[in-house]
């Protein structure tokens, strides 16, 4: 774009939004910055919401993503939800808010993240929770602490990271916990073969796992809640947590002219976060950046990517000569005091007859291992449980960005 940016509007007071603002300032942008956030809170860290915060080890103050005394010279519009985006002639956009006001920026960065999926009837019932926001976590924390005291059952629904983390935290608080998962064990789709180690952890901590179960609805019964699964079985519960995935928070952009792809509905961007609208960018869980190496748009819902990519968007927005490169995607989880870590591009690993992966250290049975996924002999991804040192050593050797085309059989 030819004009110098004057006013950058960031929609989303999220990690991705804050990282973008921080990078804009550190890269020398001195113009106006406005951040619109639908929650009342300044940007905070979400990963502890299912772990240390839920367990009351970390308090709300510690979740703040801003450093003490940090001043990024931002106009905060908190508690205001964006309703739509209208392209602005000459670049940027006008963001209309729920209350009818508009905020106009000659550059706009969309960082609205994702919302918890909530397609199960019964969500509005007392005792039924989603977990995405700080307010969600405060409310769930209260119920879990009560359930720990009363001994009444907690049912966690979800085969992903959130489900297993909440189950582990609730168990450590002393709750009776049932974890309802769609596959034979929790985290099968994320970890494949290695999910057996997590299954062992749940079993040894007396979490009851209901495998191959899809929840139809949650009902209020005579003696409390009932989680109804598809075969008609009822699981009694005092507290229910639905951890059934997240969807990009892009509903407000339906008629914006942005390319929302198909299915998942994340905003399609180039490899530096620029959308099809001039002066409009997207970063974080709401965006799917094109990956030249993978050859397709790739949505990464990871904390680390949200943090790193803010600097990329900022450089692109400011038309910097050098755009920072990001490391391979990295995600971690904490389960029963053990660290589960995954980095790299497993999709790139050789496929038929199955991804080429080898155990480098430890074993699944001992709950402590490091596994490496390879393509033509080169490590492209690493997964470990309870071996942060071995993990770190291999992670540093992963290719910094994929330069090959996807392996045969990889998802397109």
């Amino acid at each position: 774009m030819s004009t110098t940016p004057q006013h950058v509007v960031v929609v989303g007071a999220s990690l991705a939004g804050l990282s973008t603002v921080r990078a804009l300032r550190s890269q020398g942008f001195a113009g106006q910055v406005t951040v619109i956030g639908d929650e009342l809170h300044r940007p905070y860290d979400r990963p502890p919401l299912s772990k240390e915060f839920l367990a009351s080890i970390t308090d709300q103050l510690e979740l703040s993503l801003e450093a003490d005394g940090e001043d990024l010279d931002v106009t905060w519009r908190l508690g205001e939800r964006a309703r739509n985006l209208r392209q602005r002639p000459g670049g940027g956009a006008s963001i209309q808010l729920r209350d009818g006001q508009s905020v106009v920026g000659d550059r706009v960065v969309i960082a609205t993240g994702a919302a918890a999926r909530c397609g199960i009837a019964g969500l509005g019932l007392p005792g039924v929770h989603l977990l995405r926001t700080l307010d969600d976590a405060v409310s769930l924390r209260r119920d879990l602490h009560d359930a720990a005291v009363s001994g009444r059952p907690v049912v966690v629904v979800g085969g992903g990271f959130i489900g297993s983390e909440v189950a582990a935290t609730a168990r450590q608080l002393g709750c009776r916990v049932t974890l309802v998962v769609p596959d034979d064990v929790a985290l099968r789709s994320a970890l494949g073969h290695y999910a057996d180690a997590v299954a062992d952890l749940h079993a040894s901590h007396d979490v009851t796992v209901r495998p191959h179960a899809r929840v139809r609805e949650v009902r209020a019964g005579a003696a409390g809640l009932e989680v109804i699964i598809q075969n008609g079985h009822r699981i009694p519960a005092a507290t229910v947590v639905l951890g059934i995935g997240a969807v990009p928070a892009v509903g407000w952009l339906a008629d914006s002219g942005l390319d929302l792809g198909d299915g998942a509905g994340a905003i399609r961007c180039d490899e530096h976060g620029a959308t099809g609208l001039e002066g409009v960018y997207a970063v974080g869980d709401c965006a799917a950046w094109h990956s030249p190496g993978l050859g397709y748009h790739h949505q990464i819902e990871h904390w680390t990517s949200a943090k790193e990519r803010g600097a990329v968007v900022a450089a692109r927005l400011l038309e910097a000569e050098r755009v920072p490169t990001c490391r391979p995607p990295y995600v971690w989880s904490d389960l029963y005091g053990k660290k589960l870590q995954l980095a790299g591009y497993r999709d790139l690993a050789d496929h038929p007859p199955g991804p080429e992966h080898t155990l480098e250290a430890g074993s699944i049975g001992t709950g402590s291992f490091t596994a490496v996924f390879r393509r033509a002999g080169e490590p492209v991804a690493v997964l470990s449980l309870d071996q942060p040192r071995q993990f770190a050593a291999i992670r540093r050797r992963l290719v910094s960005a994929p330069v090959t085309t996807p392996a045969e059989g990889a998802p397109a």
Binding site: R22, A67, D68, E308, A392
Partner: protein
């Protein structure tokens, strides 16, 4: 002051985690920068139980391998959350091919749930 390791034990760009009676239950990380400087800090990130010796060394900064907060190895200052408290720095003296450490007498900024002697 105590002798921690021979100079050759740490290649440039690498780090060594040192946990001995001399560090009083708080392991330290000794870095050998690409510029040939030796610097030492507490090994445990001030945010969560992670070993900075496993992190990324760039210049005289190390990035925590867990959540990417960066610490200045000379001052101990942290750049951005999630870590918020500085890391303790220790004086390093290299003499006759041996790396000597003088432990800081400040109180370490260990993360929540971690106390001296319980570092993972």
């Amino acid at each position: 002051m105590f002798a921690a390791c021979p100079r050759s034990a740490i290649e440039p760009g690498e780090a060594l985690r040192f946990d001995g009676p001399e560090t009083a239950g708080v392991p330290i990380a000794i870095f050998h920068t690409e510029d040939g400087e030796f610097l030492a800090v507490d090994d445990t990130c001030t945010h969560q139980d992670a070993s900075l010796a496993d992190g990324w060394l760039e210049g005289c900064e190390v990035e925590c391998p867990l959540h990417a907060s960066r610490f200045d190895l000379r001052t101990g200052a942290v750049d951005a959350p999630p870590a918020k408290r500085p890391i303790r720095t220790h004086e390093v003296t290299v003499s006759d091919d041996t790396v000597f450490i003088t432990m800081s007498d400040e109180v370490p900024n260990l993360p929540p749930g971690v106390t001296p002697g319980t570092v993972g």
